[in-house]
């Protein structure tokens, strides 16, 4: 009997543990296994506030259940007449003061973090040569895709943010059309991209993304922005400092790269005629493109932010973007392409790469 009870206990404990562990989510998207100082600070605040709130909930629940169990009429008898109590000043004071104390305790780390996470003064610091010391990325959110400009490096990319480990990376956030919100859950909290002003904040990336299931962290749009809001994903590739410098150099080396309409390759030819107006294939440039920069398309993790990175999906996307991302701004911009042209241009785009 006791043995059976113990087994049952063990089983329920295991069940709870399983749920709890599965409740932590996937490394590349969950806020519960944060990487980087910002996410960790927010996670610690989460644990701290949960601890206080769990205490409150438990105390209230115990009081409530005790009061209820003792006061059931089925136990006391139908005719029991309780004493009509008006109230108690002592109790009122107790349950006013204790919550105030608990909230003050919570307010201290809240206020410290609020100011700390909003401190972006280092963005403007320069070394003796007048170069900015901190890495800054200008993020522009556009209807269902993301543009990342590195102003100091003179390069621009889209859909896949590339950042180095071990330093604060500063962001200038803005939306080009409607309001969006920039969120990398596993790295830190979000910040809105407004249409009328630039928001600034920073994140820190401590862990290289290579070890993750797909080699990238997931980024999300967190503000309703139209039909394809749910599909407005981006990815974050975190490299060590050397890897990042190499990536920047490789991007800079693509200066002047373009597609030629006279090319013998049907794919490049089609690209030049139908796509180049909006999509650049050189990583050197500034923000403000009509469509995502495709210089590193071959190295990316997804097609259109959500589809698996295969040629078939790319063909499907080029053939009919509306079925994949309703409301996108690419539909109808480039006329009808034949199946051969689509296949060739997909080959060409998949071949755009700066990694060996």
């Amino acid at each position: 009997m006791m043995k059976g009870l113990k087994k049952w206990r063990l089983f329920s404990l295991l069940a709870v543990m399983t749920v709890f562990l599965s409740a932590c989510g996937e490394d590349y998207i969950t806020t519960l296994k944060p990487t980087g100082a910002v996410g960790k600070e927010q996670f610690n605040l989460l644990l701290f506030s949960i601890a206080i709130m769990a205490l409150v909930t438990i105390v209230v629940s115990v009081l409530y259940l005790y009061a209820f169990m003792k006061a059931r009429r089925s136990k006391l008898g139908e005719d029991y007449m309780p004493k009509q109590v008006e109230g108690s000043h002592t109790l009122e004071v107790i349950w006013t003061v204790i919550p105030i104390v608990l909230l003050l305790i919570l307010a201290v780390p809240t206020l410290i973090s609020t100011y700390k996470l909003a401190d972006v003064r280092a963005m403007d610091e320069v070394d003796e040569e007048g170069n900015k010391t901190a890495l800054t990325v200008n993020v522009t959110a556009k209807l269902y895709w993301w543009e990342f400009e590195y102003p100091e490096q003179g390069i621009v990319t889209a859909q896949e943010l590339v950042v180095p480990t071990g330093e604060k990376v500063y962001f200038n956030l803005k939306a080009a059309d409607v309001k969006h919100s920039f969120w990398i859950p596993a790295v830190g909290g979000k910040m809105d991209t407004n249409v009328e002003n630039v928001n600034k904040f920073y994140l820190q990336f401590d862990e290289e993304s290579e070890g993750l299931e797909q080699g990238v962290f997931y980024g999300k749009c967190a503000e309703l922005c139209g039909p394809s809001h749910a599909l407005m994903d981006f990815k974050v590739k975190v490299l060590d400092r050397d890897g990042f410098d190499n990536w920047v150099a490789a991007m800079q080396a693509t200066e002047g790269q373009t597609a030629s309409a006279d090319s013998a390759d049907v794919g490049e030819q089609t690209f030049a005629n139908s796509c180049l107006m909006c999509h650049a294939v050189s990583g050197v440039g500034t923000t403000g493109a009509m469509g995502p920069n495709l210089t590193t398309f071959g190295d990316r993790n997804r097609v259109a932010g959500v589809l698996e990175h295969t040629k078939e999906n790319l063909e499907q996307w080029i053939d009919d973007p509306e079925t994949i991302k309703p409301g996108n701004l690419m539909t109808g911009k480039y006329g009808e392409l034949s199946d051969e042209e689509i296949s060739a241009v997909a080959d060409y785009i998949m071949g755009l790469s700066i990694e060996e």
Binding site: L32, L173, K190, L224
Partner: protein
């Protein structure tokens, strides 16, 4: 006309006409209740469709565009057109009885408030059939709203403008009623808690709805005439909309939850057979919550980029609200403490409410911590939080109060057995749907997504959440069945149905005559009916006046005509920007002319009401309660 409430031999046409023209607070309460239930069912159905879509990843059950319409209409309908009218239903039906009044202060306006709300709601829902519903979320953030094609947003703006005017009118009416129409002896500190919370909630309406009206008006002229208030390329600013919306939007939460608190403060003492613990601190807490409710709107905008100082101030202010709310919870628990608790269906809802609401409250405090909110904001965590507050706090209050007050409102009782089933199915479904969503949010799932890719660790929890939604739907269907069955049950014809009624509304025998109390009661203390009952007064109350003629207001069709005028005008305003509809401006003018015309008629025509003479009162009482009347 004078014995309209007694006659039950009327034909369908006469009954319909009676309801279209009535100014009786009890009938308007019933109308609010049924209109609210209708829109609750519609919005619940929309929620169910969304949960079915999200049951599995990459589902194509509903399209992306439709999903955005569903989420917008679900939120808008639930808050403006379901929760608000349902609570107004109880306020109408119960508050005048609780304070011993014949009716509300402005019966005509009461009717106008209802019809404006109802026609505004109908107008908004017509969008589904006229080219698409609004799709920018119930918050209708300006940049997306202006970008949204079609007329969906216009329906939102005009529909809410009309129904919001109705809400504002009703709010003013209740403030005046509660301040001026209390029976002799009913001092402020003897008012039942539901009357108190209705008063504070009405005061919040008075201050919170004007910012919304302004915001909607700016949005309207932006869309109608290209005024560019919110177009940043022309010097406008969309963050202003966020401020205007939330200066209204946050108090709106308290507008709804305070009457819910009040309802529970009525239910718990009755079934604990014990005086509400700490009455004066409950009143104080209500006022404080109402006041602080206006100081915290920017906590909805922590990630908008207002800066560290603004975030810090609003974080601390938000945390402060937890203190008076906590006071209330402890007072409810202490009311139960040492009482004699009978677990009826209304009490079951109250018992379920306390832990659910505490859970919703503590997650609210977590989100008040601004840096933590950067992670939680616009994720499924916030979805879980506000559904814990709204379903756990407001919907449970409404369902519980339906059971509680059905005898007074309809002279019928809802089935306890079916009610217990409803409660458990709905309650389990509710926790199953929303508890798990906290984790979905922490696992990185943004809200308002029409679908999600597989293998992000969200599949199982979304599936569980959808199962819970189905349970909730079953619960609501059972409640509707219960309501239908009650219509066929026997009339109760009794006083104090639950046996332990405390406030004045229980002192009156059901069915309640159209003039309420035949003589205005005299209130000798808090819980007047309980006092009289335990002093051995079998009539349930003592009277402040001798039996005399009763002055009552006349019915009127004018409120409906005024509301129809605004309804017609709204179509003109809606189609004017198309440019190819020359009838738009004439329709706008016609609609406004109808409204203004009805107003002129109302102003010019003297309407002094009518008197019910003593003999008629006695005859009515005998017809209702048999010989001897209300003894």
């Amino acid at each position: 006309m004078s014995s309209a409430a007694v006659s039950n031999k009327k034909g369908f046409g006469a009954t319909l006409w009676d309801y279209l023209t009535t100014v009786d607070h009890k009938k308007l309460g019933v109308m609010y209740l049924f209109a609210g239930t209708l829109f609750f069912a519609i919005a619940g159905f929309e929620a169910l469709l969304m949960r079915l879509q999200l049951m599995i990843p990459n589902s194509d059950f509903v399209s992306a565009g439709t999903f955005n319409e569903l989420l917008t209409m679900h939120g808008t309908t639930m808050l403006f057109l379901a929760a608000t009218p349902l609570l107004f239903g109880f306020m109408n039906a119960i508050v005048p009885l609780q304070i011993g009044a014949r009716d509300v202060a402005f019966p005509f306006l009461n009717s106008l408030g209802f019809w404006l709300f109802f026609l505004g709601a109908i107008f908004l829902h017509l969008s589904f059939f006229l080219g698409g519903a609004p799709d920018a979320g119930w918050t209708n953030y300006a940049s997306l709203a202006i970008y949204s094609p079609g007329h969906g947003i216009d329906f939102y703006v005009l529909g809410l403008q009309i129904s919001g005017a109705g809400t504002l009118i009703s709010g003013i009416n209740f403030i005046v009623t509660i301040i001026t129409m209390r029976a002799p002896g009913m001092t402020f500190m003897r008012m039942p808690l539901f009357t108190w919370t209705s008063l504070i909630s009405s005061a919040l309406i008075l201050f919170a709805f004007p910012p919304l009206t302004v915001g909607l008006f700016l949005m309207l002229v932006d869309r109608m005439f290209g005024a560019n208030f919110f177009d940043h390329t022309m010097g406008g600013n969309t963050v202003i909309w966020e401020h205007l919306f939330w200066i209204f939007g946050h108090p709106e939460v308290y507008i709804l939850v305070l009457p819910a608190f009040g309802l529970f403060s009525e239910i718990i003492p009755v079934f604990a057979r014990k005086r509400l613990f700490g009455y004066s601190s409950m009143v104080f807490a209500t006022i404080l919550i109402g006041f602080l409710g206006f100081m915290v709107w920017a906590h909805h905008m922590f990630t908008t980029g207002l800066g560290a100082t603004a975030n810090a101030i609003f974080a601390v202010a938000t945390m402060a609200i937890a203190v008076p709310t906590g006071m209330k919870v402890f007072n409810w628990i202490m009311t139960i403490w040492g009482g004699s608790v009978k677990v009826t269906v209304p009490m079951l809802y109250a018992l379920g409410f306390i832990p659910s609401f505490v859970a919703g409250g503590v997650t609210g405090v977590m989100q008040a911590a601004a840096p933590l909110d950067y992670q939680l904001h616009d994720s499924y965590f916030i979805v879980a939080h506000f559904h814990y507050v709204i379903v756990g706090g407001i919907v449970t209050a409404i369902f519980g109060s339906m059971h509680f007050y059905w005898p007074i409102m309809f002279n019928r009782a809802l089935s306890e057995r079916l009610g217990v089933w409803t409660f458990w199915i709905f309650f389990i479904g509710f926790h199953c749907t929303f508890f798990i969503q906290h984790f979905l949010g922490l696992m990185g799932m943004p809200r308002r997504v029409f679908t999600y890719q597989a293998n992000q660790g969200w599949d199982l929890f979304n599936f569980i959440s959808s199962i819970g939604a189905i349970l909730m739907a079953i619960g609501v269907i059972l409640l509707v069945i219960n309501i239908i069955l009650s219509a066929k049950s026997k009339p109760l014809n009794c006083r104090d149905y639950w046996g332990d009624g405390r406030s004045l509304e229980w002192a009156i025998k059901t069915p309640v005559p159209f003039y309420n109390f035949k003589q205005t009661p005299l209130v000798r203390g808090y819980d007047p009916y309980w006092l009289e009952k335990h002093d051995g007064n079998e009539e349930g109350m003592i009277y402040a006046e001798p039996l005399g003629d009763i002055h009552m207001p006349n019915n009127s069709i004018l409120p409906l005509i005024m509301s129809i005028g605004t309804f017609v005008a709204a179509f003109g305003a809606l189609y004017h920007p198309d440019g190819d509809k020359p009838w738009a401006i004439p329709v706008l003018i016609l609609g406004l002319a109808i409204t203004v015309g009805a107003m002129i008629v109302r102003s010019v025509k003297d309407d002094h009401g009518f008197h019910v003479h003593v003999e008629e009162v006695i005859a009515t009482e005998e017809e209702l309660y048999g010989k001897g009347g209300n003894k």
